[in-house]
């Protein structure tokens, strides 16, 4: 190895350590795709539940004091809530799985300094958003759940993008915009939810996968 090569390698090492110590680069595009697919399945199942209980939903809107419709309402809400929880854990599981696999490949610790920073920065806005939305649900303001989820998730992603692959911030912008538009189309939350958590995730994941992982 000649002197020039040795120095070039030194520079390469320096760049790599700077990158590895400041950003979590093992985030896999496949995580985005799998999360998007889970979200679409979840939205599809929710659509079926809502369709089957159209009358109950209608009743619930008409008269909150009607005991019969509230029972129906509780029923579909618990069903939708279960679907949402399962969707969340399924997508989190697959997202973790693919990123874990990638971290093995790139030889970076899955729970190192950068992963911790990334997690804290995405989780704080999401927990704040979650508590905020629970308060809205308690007060019966269901229309804001879908746009609220999208906006707070987008803010979390945008915040975390400083600590991972930089293109991730466009996912954050996209989620925020879709959430904001949703605010002006109340009652269409499920479609916006499918667009933001489903389509946008798949689009983002496919882009990241083709950019960073396809060749390796």
């Amino acid at each position: 190895m000649n002197e020039s090569e040795k120095l070039s390698n030194e520079l390469k090492d320096i760049k790599q350590i700077m990158e590895r110590s400041s950003r979590f680069i093992s985030l896999s595009g496949l995580s985005g795709i799998s999360a998007g697919i889970c979200a679409l399945i979840g939205a599809w199942l929710s659509g079926i539940v809502i369709e089957r209980n159209k009358r109950a939903v209608h009743n619930l809107k008409r008269s909150i004091a009607d005991t019969d419709s509230i029972m129906y309402g509780d029923f579909i809400h618990s069903h939708l809530f279960q679907i949402a929880i399962i969707t969340f854990f399924a997508s989190a599981f697959f997202a973790f799985l693919f990123t874990y696999r990638r971290s093995k490949k790139t030889n970076t610790p899955i729970w190192g300094i950068t992963a911790r920073r990334l997690t804290i920065n995405v989780v704080v806005p999401m927990i704040a958003g979650g508590i905020f939305l629970f308060a809205l649900i308690r007060d019966g303001v269901y229309g804001f759940i879908a746009p609220g989820c999208l906006i707070f998730y987008g803010l979390g992603v945008l915040n975390a993008s400083k600590y991972t692959l930089p293109e991730t911030r466009y996912l954050g912008y996209g989620e925020i915009i879709i959430g904001l538009i949703n605010l002006f189309f109340m009652g269409q939350g499920l479609y916006f939810w499918a667009a933001g958590f489903g389509a946008l995730h798949i689009f983002y994941g496919a882009f990241m996968w083709s950019k960073y992982e396809m060749k390796s």
Partner: protein, 99 residues
């Protein structure tokens, strides 16, 4: 023209020291274990190189505790950042001249 090799800093003439400085340039502070994981070295090896950099005034050490466990934080000093930048510039120049 002055030979850029003169601008290479002898203190950074080690892969581990370069690694330590690189990590501290982009992070406000890092603790011992994270640094060890990042650069892939043994405790003793890392400690001796940290000591050398500290004696040169390039990094500062902050001893603290998390519960009962010691948590020592390292960060680059102003002088350290400047010295490392000069070193990097020199490296780049040398490589450019060699091509």
């Amino acid at each position: 023209m002055k030979n850029p090799i003169e601008n290479l800093n002898k203190t950074f003439d080690s892969r581990i020291r370069l690694g330590i400085m690189s990590a501290l340039m982009v992070n406000a502070s890092i603790n011992f274990n994270d640094l060890k994981e990042l650069i892939n070295v043994t405790d003793g090896n890392l400690a001796s190189h940290i000591k050398a950099l500290e004696e040169n005034g390039y990094i500062k050490v902050q001893k603290g505790f998390i519960g009962r466990k010691t948590n020592t934080l390292y960060s680059a000093t102003k002088a350290g950042e400047k010295a490392f930048r000069t070193h990097l510039d020199a490296l780049e120049k040398i490589i450019k001249n060699m091509r």
